[in-house]
């Protein structure tokens, strides 16, 4: 019999009223070390066992969709860097693709290759950060720094070519903003060599570790059918055996000419999701290796008008970010600004499956599940 504070109705102001006698309602977040941002989860516990997870969003909602309605087609792209800040390039890419679809603009081959290279570098950086953060979620602190060592190299490459490290605004309708830096190829080669040397350490330190395997195997199981029904995409869904890599299914830019595998694991648990991302990193490296010495010469940007006007209609583009399928849905009324814009963010749908996955697991597992989902809160809240 705990004192007053465990009485279930303590959070009466919150609209959730489930929970039986003896249940404990805990607010995980908005400030909590393992939510990686300002995610607020209201979890109902029975002892250590999670009975219900109720996400409460909006702590970092910037109403990007509304904001973009007042920005022109050139301007709104930079806003989307702040959506899923770890795959900022890929977000920008998706928006640029959508605008190009509307303008029926042909992107020069050099720009296409540069875009794919940047996408894959971003994916690598994002997966590195996820690896470190996931290891930290399950309690190992050293991997975070190892991951940052590699990620820093990618960020330096980005900084050299794009000018910024995280929110680049490098993709513009019709191509990329600037040509590659002369040192780009050299730096990427250095990074590939370094990465290949260090990736085994990741396995030594975390993947093969017995404690880590026990913490993730069989945890947060979701079946293939459920994953599809919840709209899960990206590595989180591919861990359950869902074929959902947009790069393979609906290839954009030069992805259809590249040799790479769509990683699919059938475990459906946190470890499967972990393995998908680990293998995806190697695939990204192989994509970069295929492209880095074969960048075609030519323009990096197609000729566009100073003021972009999309014809009346609806345009939808989808790309594969580090977290899953990002869709940009633009409804145009023929003006210089979109009439309505919708971002179909991968994190939002992945988060909706959290309750399903965490039910009946322990608190420690909840943290592992959140880590394996690779949630980026600004992506969920937009």
């Amino acid at each position: 019999m705990y004192r007053e504070s465990t009485i279930v109705n303590e959070s009466a102001s919150l609209p959730y009223n489930g929970g039986d006698e003896g249940d404990m309602i805990i607010n995980v977040g908005p400030q909590h070390p393992s939510t990686h941002g300002v995610l607020h989860l209201i979890i109902t516990l029975n002892g250590e066992t999670v009975k219900k997870v109720d996400p409460n969003l909006g702590y970092i909602h910037r109403s990007m969709e509304k904001m973009c309605e007042s920005l022109t087609y050139r301007q709104f792209i930079y806003v989307t860097s702040r959506m899923d800040y770890l795959s900022a390039h890929i977000n920008n890419h998706c928006c640029a693709l959508c605008v190009e679809k509307g303008l029926q603009l042909e992107v020069p081959p050099r720009a296409q290759v540069i875009r794919v290279l940047m996408d894959e570098l971003t994916r690598l950086a994002s997966h590195h950060l996820w690896w470190g953060a996931f290891a930290m979620d399950v309690g190992a602190l050293t991997p975070f720094f190892l991951a940052f060592r590699e990620r820093e190299m990618i960020n330096d490459i980005m900084e050299e070519t794009c000018g910024t490290r995280l929110t680049m605004n490098y993709m513009v309708p019709g191509g990329v903003m600037a040509d590659l830096h002369p040192d780009f190829q050299k730096r990427v080669h250095e990074f590939i060599a370094h990465f290949k040397k260090k990736i085994d350490e990741y396995d030594e330190l975390i993947t093969d570790n017995i404690i880590f395997q026990n913490r993730t195997k069989g945890i947060g199981y979701i079946s293939k059918e459920d994953a599809i029904a919840f709209g899960m995409t990206g590595p989180s869904a591919r861990g359950s055996g869902v074929q959902c890599d947009i790069r393979k299914l609906y290839p954009y830019e030069v992805y259809d000419k590249l040799q790479f595998d769509e990683i699919i694991e059938t475990g459906g648990d946190c470890f499967a999701r972990y393995m998908v991302r680990m293998k995806e990193m190697k695939q990204s490296i192989s994509i970069i290796e295929q492209l880095i010495d074969n960048i075609p010469e030519g323009d990096f940007q197609a000729k566009t008008k100073a003021v972009l006007k999309l014809p009346k209609g609806e345009f939808y583009s989808r790309v594969e970010t580090a977290r899953g399928e990002l869709g940009v849905y633009i409804i145009s009324e023929g003006a210089t600004t979109p009439y309505r814009i919708k971002f179909r963010s991968p994190g939002y749908c992945n988060l909706s499956a959290l309750d399903h996955m965490a039910k009946g697991q322990k608190i420690g597992d909840l943290v592992a599940i959140m880590g394996a989902l690779d949630l980026v809160i600004p992506d969920i809240d937009r």
Partner: protein
């Protein structure tokens, strides 16, 4: 299934459907009243099997609202866009969260952003907006926030 086959199949299922020209995918305009049985058919019909609802959007057209559902099938990889016209003052549509679980969250977002009421939704509460939000729905075109809006 190609776009034309899909069109024939859909018009068999729902004779009242109106098809829109243009767009990347087949667009079908339906009456909100028939949405629930239509959705069930789309999901369960073996040669359609739309099992993946990847985008749920509300749109404010000033004269009316509309809900846009982007559906896809992981088996056949065909895509369909379903649009339902809703009344501006009393927007109501049946929830499809029991057919596609992802709709539960997405409908909650549309509910608070556009004020569209989803009938028989299991848990229709505010998700993103703060508790006790009063006033207009933020994504409506007539929404104005004099305090936080920066006028350029």
């Amino acid at each position: 299934m190609t776009r034309d086959e899909l069109k024939i199949k859909i018009s068999e299922l729902l004779p009242s459907a109106v098809f829109e020209e243009g767009g990347e995918w087949l667009n079908v305009q339906i009456d909100p009243a028939v949405w629930l049985p239509f959705a069930e058919q789309l999901r369960s019909s073996p040669d359609l099997s739309f099992d993946y609802l990847f985008c749920v959007t509300g749109v404010d057209w000033k004269t009316h609202l509309s809900m846009v559902y982007h559906l896809s099938s992981t088996n056949y990889r065909h895509t369909l866009v379903v649009k339902a016209k809703l009344d501006l003052n009393q927007p109501e549509i049946e929830s499809v969260s029991h057919i596609w679980r992802t709709a539960e969250f997405n409908e909650r977002e549309a509910y608070e952003m556009f004020g569209i009421k989803f009938l028989h939704h299991p848990d229709l509460r505010l998700l993103i907006l703060p508790e006790g939000w009063e006033g207009k729905n933020p994504m409506r075109k007539d929404f104005e926030d004099p305090v936080n809006m920066i006028k350029l």
